[in-house]
Point group: D2
């Protein structure tokens, strides 16, 4: 059961990454740092006859890479009570992929995947991060993709995450689950 | 009481725009189409000594333009159960503005504004759009900005919005409120 | 298509009732005022061998009466950001009905019903009433019952609801829908 | 810092109680089992001149007992995606207490309390229990009462809770926090 970790962070070694790395310690994963790539915002052409044009950026390659795996971990800082804009741009493009002849079984393939979410925020994330979890739930439900669990961590300054013992415990616990996949 | 409408749509004349235009018919507003501008994703430098570098894109100009108004209407299609990535990128950059000496009373000024949200989606938006409304609530609460109301419309194909009589009525009702500002 | 209105209010002629009556004006409905009946809280015996004892109160009669109809309108004041305790007690007892041999196709029959929710509260109900709507969504989803729509009204003192033009409009709109059933 | 645990369960030794007892092991608390008492549903008389009549049940005594403590743990099974009807009836009556001359500083006193929530459900509670957490958030915010944290456990049959390692860990973690109060 191979794992892709999709990072939405915009600085290296942030709290989200730290927490996620605890959950995947010594587990082989494919780490995709969205910030290292160019992923344009979607232009909605769903209703135009000619459909979506091919976009010259890194999105298709990233998506293909992600789809080689069975389990996804979406690891995002909580920016303004939702996923980062970088990650949102990536997710928005899925609408285009669903119309893309080159990925024609995309939705069906997604329905066989499993997903986890790891999200870290600074402003009462265990409360104010709940709409983000609900949003991910709807996204995964759309595909029939199994939402296996999530961890919400609280942290602001670099390193803060180590003070959130509940999140740390949950990451250790998640690791046991991932190893047994 | 001047009004800025911030559009997060990525195609012209979509359902979100149609619904919004009903609400502002014959009212003078400043219409900001985010899709017409280049707004980079944020790079989180909140915790670095040198802070955020100045970014060469259209964000600062757009933000300044928005801040000249007292009432904001955020008009966004619902993409994957939240605002569009374009709008999210714009909002994410507010974190940078809060550290920007050139906008040093940004948070304080925001606390005097009023906001409305108009969101249109195709997949049970009056239910599955609720996390988006909660996200906006937390965003506005952060600033102490007054959340005056929202309209959720249901539409998929261009023109569909005219079939959502409840949303149309709500737009007409909102217009009365905006005129009386 | 016959309609049952289940009122969770605890005073007659309150704002919830007023708003609901606009939606059903001149439509024949079966009005069930939960407050007129004795409905005990559930005692959870799901996991005991002998199961639930028969409870000597009005619940069974009320449930049977409701089940004769195809469309339900749950009309509740928002007390502490959810349905009234009276209505919650009624709903909680559904767990008992699911184990009751006398109602053995209860879940299946529920899956053919349609439901509306009308909820009125005094403290920012269009925002703080959203968890209530989400709770109803999960309840209806459990049964596969179709959630056809909801109206949230804002009111505090008796008669206040007439000042919520958006809720009044929505009730008038709902009435058109109910007539066409 | 003395602690009151308010149990909304309707059967003894259920999963909610088991999980809660892990969190308070060897800590002196005042355990209030709502199911052992008679607490009537509220009759809304907020807007009548003569106000609320005195109700002959156990509510006032229970409320007084709870208010002697500084920290509250609300421990409820998740029934139909919210707190049990028994607990909801108890909470609903707070509206009456706010108008009760005998408890005239009720709201002010509540603002100095701290609260935790422990909730256990059988149907994807870490997702479908989130509206309950949001509801508690609004309740506590109303009073300015500090919401210190929550644990959501997943369990159906008696004893199931021991299989939810994440909830067990969280209870152990909470216990450390409670001891240090």
């Amino acid at each position: 059961m191979s794992i892709a970790v999709i990072y939405g962070s915009t600085r290296p070694n942030g709290n989200t990454e730290t927490l996620t790395k605890l959950a995947i310690e010594n587990i082989e994963v494919d780490s995709i740092y969205l910030n290292d790539f160019t992923i344009n915002s979607i232009e909605d052409r769903r209703h135009e006859e000619e459909g979506f044009p091919i976009v010259e950026d890194d999105y298709d390659a990233i998506l293909s890479r992600m789809m080689q795996h069975e389990t996804f971990i979406f690891a995002t800082p909580i920016y303004w009570y939702s996923m980062s804009g970088q990650m949102k741009n990536f997710v928005d493009r899925w609408s285009q992929t669903m119309k893309d002849a080159r990925f024609k079984d995309f939705k069906e393939r997604m329905s066989h995947k499993k997903a986890y979410v790891i999200a870290v925020g600074g402003d009462s994330p265990t409360i104010k991060g709940l709409p983000l979890i609900q949003q991910f739930t709807y996204i995964f439900d759309f595909f029939g993709l199994s939402f296996e669990g999530y961890i919400i961590g609280e942290a602001n300054k670099p390193g803060d995450i180590y003070n959130d013992q509940q999140a740390i415990n949950a990451a250790v616990q998640l690791r046991k689950k991932l190893i047994s996949l």
